[in-house]
Symmetry: C2
Subunit: 193 residues, 2 copies
DNA sequence: AATGTTACGGACCGGTCAGTAAATAACAGC
DNA sequence: GCTGTTATTTACTGACCGGTCCGTAACATT
């Protein structure tokens, strides 16, 4: 009943996500977003409200796609070491092969905005806890952890830290050998039995 | 032979460091720095050159103080587990007790500026490699690692990732239980023999 | 074809950004 | 007490910030 939108909001959000991902919240200007989406400011504001909401929408998009995909990979059958090996290797491979050193957007958001913006903090915390839960479940398949919740939770937290730490080392320009070492050490820390 | 400086440059740099540490590079304005140092812009520019140089000077100050102190703690005598336990516990304790969730400035710099600014990248990389070296040396005391350089390097990288990951979990507002779990898992991954 | 509703585009808002110029002030050596 | 040098302060620059206004265009309904 009115003029139809001439662009794809999902596609726009994807571009916004990539921009915030690369440049951070304060590092991204509306001009950057306009350039990335090829949209005018007004179209963006009508769709999202303001810059902060664009950022949060971008984070949600990241969760719904990148994070979800990564956690899905943990649900496959097999020993815990194999499951996590797939997760860690994909990250290292991506950093080496395609030179993608953007890191993890969620991890970036932790260091960038979580302590400065309440909404971001709440969102990030919720996502981190969900990921932790997924890590824990992936460990349940292993006998060593199945009957020991404390140990399982501890190991899940440890793997989470290892994962985020690896992401930081990637952004910190560490060479392949270090990245592989960190990944291997994380996998080796998982009990196999 | 000229008008003496009326403020302490070291003290000013300390305040600048704390501001960048808390707000990030783009999130910090010259006004923020003026307010923190109680100095006028011109005094800052004469002393440092520009904002970027202030940031790099702040990073160097962090390295010369916080990082150096932390790595010194690893040089004490005793089993590797005890050495790293001290390092990790201090971080967790700081986050819990004093509510200090600023994280690690060097780690923040990795996710914030390392991929966007060449000088920062080089500096961060150098510091990360030095820290890695220190981790490796702290592991040399352990028999399991003394004779196996590959394993030692791998474990050092793993602990480094665990450390940075813990720092990210802290900024991501994770509860004490998760932080302690991550620290305990990291320590448990060190071979004791 | 007229109307109501939404989308678009560009000018524009006040404010802030990093950085600079120039005037004044405090010292040392002579 | 004059001169040279450096510190401090104020005022300013031009660009850019996030955000809004408003005139116009494109559609659906009637």
């Amino acid at each position: 009943m009115a003029r139809p939108r001439a662009f794809d909001p999902e596609d726009a959000l994807l571009k916004i996500k990539e921009t915030f991902w690369r440049l951070g919240y304060e590092g991204t200007s509306l001009q950057d977003i306009e350039a990335a989406t090829e949209l005018k400011k007004q179209s963006l504001y009508r769709l999202f409200g303001d810059k902060r909401k664009m950022y949060l929408a971008a984070l949600e998009h990241y969760e719904a796609h990148e994070v979800r995909t990564a956690l899905k990979a943990l649900e496959r059958e097999g020993p815990a070491r194999v499951r996590f090996r797939a997760l860690f290797d994909e990250i290292v491979e991506g950093a080496i092969a395609s030179g993608d050193r953007r890191g993890c957007f969620l991890c970036n958001a932790c260091t960038d905005q979580a302590q400065l913006d309440d909404e971001t903090r709440k969102f990030v915390r919720k996502q981190l806890e969900a990921a932790l839960q997924a890590f824990e479940e992936a460990l349940s398949a292993e006998k060593a952890y199945a009957g020991n919740e404390t140990l399982r939770k501890e190991q899940a937290a440890g793997l989470m830290a290892a994962y985020f730490g690896l992401r930081v080392l990637i952004k910190g320009d560490m060479p392949e050998s270090v990245l592989r070492g960190a990944a291997d050490a994380a996998i080796a820390s998982i009990s196999a039995n």
